[in-house]
C-alpha cells in the first residue's frame, strides 16, 4: 500500500456542504484542505498507518451491517447528546452545570491546533481531513457546579453506513470540575476529533466504547490539554470492525498533572485496529500511565503504540507504558511499540511490551475444574482484559 494517494480535494468538493459558519472557522477548514492537497494520503510509510490497511478508508461500500443491539446502558441522570445525521439531538433539559452549543459557536480562542513541530503531528492527515470537512459537533462546557458522578454521554448515531461523517467536539472542564464523559459509538462511518480541555484541578473520567460490526469503520483523534494539577483517566474499548484507528494525543500544559489510560483492543476476522497514545511531557512533574491489553484472532491485525516525549527541562516526569498482547491464531498479527523520547535529565520511566499466547497452565487449570475449552479461553480473555480496566 506504500504510496497510496487519496484525492482529498475531490473528496472535499463532493462532501463539504455550504455552511453559514464564522469566517475564521471557514478559513481554518479551507486551510486544512489546502494543506491536505500537498500531502499524500495515509499509507504504510507513515508511522501511524504502518500496521493498518489505509486503503480500506477508500472503500465505497462497506459490508452490510448485521442488526445487533448496541444500545449501551446510560447512567441515570446523565446528560445525553445524540450526534446524528441530522445534527445534534439533546434528549432532555440541561442541568445548570452544563451548557451545550453547536460547534460553529465555538469561540475562536478555544480552537486547538496540534503541535505540528512533532513528527507524528505531520502524519495526522486523516484528522486534518476532519478539520476540512467537519459538518457538526458540539461545544460542551462543564462548570464546577457539576455534582458528584455528573455524566455526559456523547452518542455517535449516524445512520449513514457508507459515506464518511466528520464530527468535531470540544469539551471544556472549568477549574475544579469533576465529570464523567462517555463516548458511545452506535452507528455510522465516522471520523471524529474531540478536544478535551481540562482546566486547573479538573478531574475527567472518560470512557470510549467502540464495538463495531464486522464491516464498519471508525477513525478518531482524542486531544487532551491538561492544565496544572488536572487529572484525566481514560478507558477505551475497541472491538471488531473493518477498520478502527484511534489516536489519543495528550499535551501537558503545566505542572503536576496526571494522565492515565487503559485500553482493551479485541480484533477478529480481518479486522484492523490501531490504538495510539502520544503524550507530550513539556512541563515538570507530570505523570502518564498507559496500559493496553490486546487480543487478535483469525487474520486480524492490531497496532499498539504508546509514545512519550519528555522535553528538555521537564524534570520529575513519570512515565509508565505497559502493553501486553495475546495472539489467538497463527494468522493474527500484533505490532506493539512502547516508545520513550527523553530530553530531560531526571525522569522516571518504565516501559514494557509482550506478545504471547494464552497461558497453557491456566487453561489446563480451568479445564481440570470442568470448564470447557472455549469457555476457559473466554474466562482467560476476560482476566487478561481486566488488567487494562482502570475506571
Amino acid at each position: 500500500m506504500a504510496g497510496l494517494k487519496i484525492d482529498w480535494l475531490a473528496a472535499a468538493n463532493e462532501a463539504n456542504p455550504e455552511l453559514n459558519w464564522p469566517a475564521w472557522m471557514q478559513a481554518k477548514k479551507q486551510s486544512a484542505l489546502e494543506n491536505l492537497s500537498k500531502l499524500p494520503g495515509p499509507h504504510r510509510k507513515l508511522e501511524l498507518w504502518r500496521y493498518s490497511d489505509a486503503a480500506r478508508l477508500q472503500k465505497v461500500e462497506l459490508a452490510a451491517a448485521v442488526n445487533m443491539d448496541r444500545e449501551l446502558p446510560i447512567t441515570e441522570g446523565a446528560v445525553v447528546i445524540n450526534l446524528t445525521a441530522k445534527g445534534i439531538d439533546l434528549s432532555q433539559n440541561l442541568p445548570n452545570w452544563v451548557s451545550i452549543k453547536p460547534i460553529q459557536e465555538l469561540p475562536e480562542n478555544q480552537w486547538f491546533e496540534l503541535n505540528v513541530t512533532s513528527t507524528l503531528a505531520k502524519e495526522l492527515v486523516v484528522q486534518s481531513l476532519n478539520q476540512g470537512l467537519f459538518t457538526h459537533g458540539v461545544v460542551v462546557n462543564v462548570s464546577a457546579a457539576a455534582p458528584k458522578d455528573a455524566t455526559v454521554v456523547l452518542r455517535y448515531d449516524i445512520a449513514e453506513a457508507n459515506n464518511w461523517s466528520y464530527l468535531r467536539n470540544v469539551i471544556n472542564l472549568a477549574a475544579d470540575t469533576k465529570v464523567i464523559i462517555d463516548e458511545q459509538f452506535v452507528s455510522g462511518r465516522i471520523n471524529v476529533v474531540n478536544h478535551y480541555n481540562v482546566a486547573n484541578n479538573g478531574h475527567l473520567t472518560r470512557h470510549q466504547h467502540n464495538v463495531l460490526e464486522s464491516g464498519q469503520q471508525h477513525v478518531s483523534l482524542q486531544y487532551f490539554s491538561l492544565a496544572e494539577k488536572s487529572f484525566v483517566q481514560s478507558q477505551s474499548r475497541h472491538e471488531s470492525g473493518d477498520l478502527q484507528h484511534h489516536i489519543h494525543w495528550v499535551d501537558f500544559n503545566a505542572e503536576n498533572a496526571e494522565y492515565r489510560s487503559g485500553s482493551v483492543n479485541k480484533a477478529g476476522d480481518n479486522s484492523h485496529i490501531a490504538d495510539i497514545v502520544v503524550v507530550n511531557h513539556a512541563f515538570k512533574n507530570n505523570v502518564s500511565d498507559v496500559t493496553h491489553r490486546s487480543l487478535a484472532d483469525d487474520s486480524a491485525q492490531i497496532f499498539n503504540n504508546a509514545k512519550a516525549v519528555v522535553a528538555k527541562g521537564a524534570d520529575g516526569s513519570e512515565i509508565i507504558q505497559d502493553l501486553k498482547n495475546i495472539l489467538l491464531s497463527s494468522n493474527a498479527k500484533i505490532a506493539s511499540k512502547p516508545e520513550l523520547e527523553v530530553y530531560a535529565d531526571e525522569v522516571v520511566a518504565a516501559h514494557g511490551s509482550t506478545i504471547g499466547a494464552l497461558d497453557e497452565q491456566v487453561l489446563f487449570f480451568l479445564r481440570s475444574r470442568g470448564i470447557g475449552l472455549e469457555q476457559a479461553k473466554a474466562i482467560m480473555m476476560v482476566s487478561f482484559e481486566q488488567e487494562a480496566v482502570i475506571c
Partner: protein, 246 residues
C-alpha cells in the same frame, strides 16, 4: 475405581513414567512418595489430562472408562480432581464466579440443571464454614495476592465444592506451615468417604501424620518400587530413598 496398567508416559519429549502400575479402590487413600524427578507430579498430571503429558503405552481405566481418551474437562466432570502443586492466579475473575462456572459446567456434563446463584451461594458458604476458612476467599480473584497457604487451602475448598470421586493432591503440603498443614489435612479428612478415593503425592511423612493413608507407594524412576502401609513412610523418613534406588 482406578486402574493404572503398564503406563509409559512422556512429559514433553522426556520419558518420565516407565511401567507404572497402581490400583485404587473406592474409599482408599494412597500416598505416593519418591525423590525429586521420580515422576510423581507427572502421574498426577497424566490422570488429570495435562496436554503436554502423554501416555506412549499402557492404559488407565477410571470407573470402567478409558481415562486417557477423555478431555480434561470431561475427566473433571466424571469426578477426577487435581489439586495443583502450584495453583495458578487468574486476575479479574473472582473465586465465586470461577467456582460456579466450574460447578455448573460439571452439572451440565452430567445432564443436570444449573444451580442458581442464591442456592450456590448458600452451598459454598456452608462448605467454607465447615472447612474453617474465611468467606472473604469467595470475593477475591482466583489466587491473586494469596499466600502459599491460602492457595493450597483454596485448592481444598474447590475440592470440597466440586465433590470429586478421585482427588489427586499434588504436594499440597509443600510450603505450608504447621497450622496451614492442619487446615488442609482437616479439609481432606472431612471429605473422606467410602466412595471417594485420594492419591496424595508428597515428599514428607509429616502430612501422613494428619491424613492416615491405607497404602504408601514409593515411586522411583517412573515406577513404583515398593508399596506398604504408613510404616513405610516412617522408614523413608528415617532412611531416605537411597536404599530403594539401588
Amino acid at each position: 475405581m482406578l486402574e493404572i496398567k503398564d503406563i509409559f508416559a512422556k512429559a514433553g519429549d522426556k520419558e518420565i513414567l516407565k511401567n507404572l502400575n497402581l490400583s485404587v479402590k473406592p474409599g482408599e487413600v494412597h500416598a505416593i512418595m519418591g525423590p525429586n524427578g521420580s515422576g510423581k507430579s507427572t502421574m498426577g498430571n497424566l490422570l488429570a489430562g495435562m496436554p503436554h503429558v502423554t501416555a506412549t503405552s499402557g492404559s488407565v481405566t477410571y470407573q470402567g472408562k478409558d481415562l486417557l481418551q477423555m478431555e480434561p474437562e470431561d475427566r473433571a466432570a466424571e469426578g477426577v480432581f487435581l489439586a495443583f502443586q502450584y495453583p495458578v492466579e487468574i486476575p479479574g475473575v473472582n473465586n465465586m464466579y470461577f467456582l460456579r462456572t466450574a460447578y455448573n459446567a460439571q452439572r451440565k456434563h452430567r445432564g443436570e440443571e444449573n444451580l442458581d446463584s442464591a442456592s450456590f451461594l448458600r452451598m459454598v458458604k456452608e462448605k467454607i464454614k465447615q472447612l474453617h476458612m474465611s468467606d472473604d476467599l469467595l470475593k477475591r480473584p482466583v489466587n491473586v495476592g494469596f499466600s502459599g497457604g491460602e492457595k493450597k487451602r483454596n485448592e481444598v475448598f474447590q475440592m470440597a465444592v466440586l465433590e470429586p470421586n478421585l482427588a489427586i493432591m499434588d504436594e499440597t503440603d509443600s510450603g505450608l506451615d504447621i497450622d496451614a498443614l492442619r487446615v488442609v489435612a482437616d479439609g481432606v479428612n472431612q471429605l473422606r468417604s467410602p466412595d471417594r478415593s485420594f492419591i496424595i503425592i508428597t515428599h514428607y511423612q509429616r502430612l501422613l501424620d494428619y491424613i492416615e493413608p491405607d497404602f504408601v507407594h514409593v515411586l522411583v524412576d517412573g515406577q513404583i518400587v515398593k508399596s506398604g502401609t504408613k510404616k513405610l513412610a516412617l522408614e523413608l523418613e528415617e532412611q531416605g530413598y537411597g536404599w530403594l534406588e539401588n
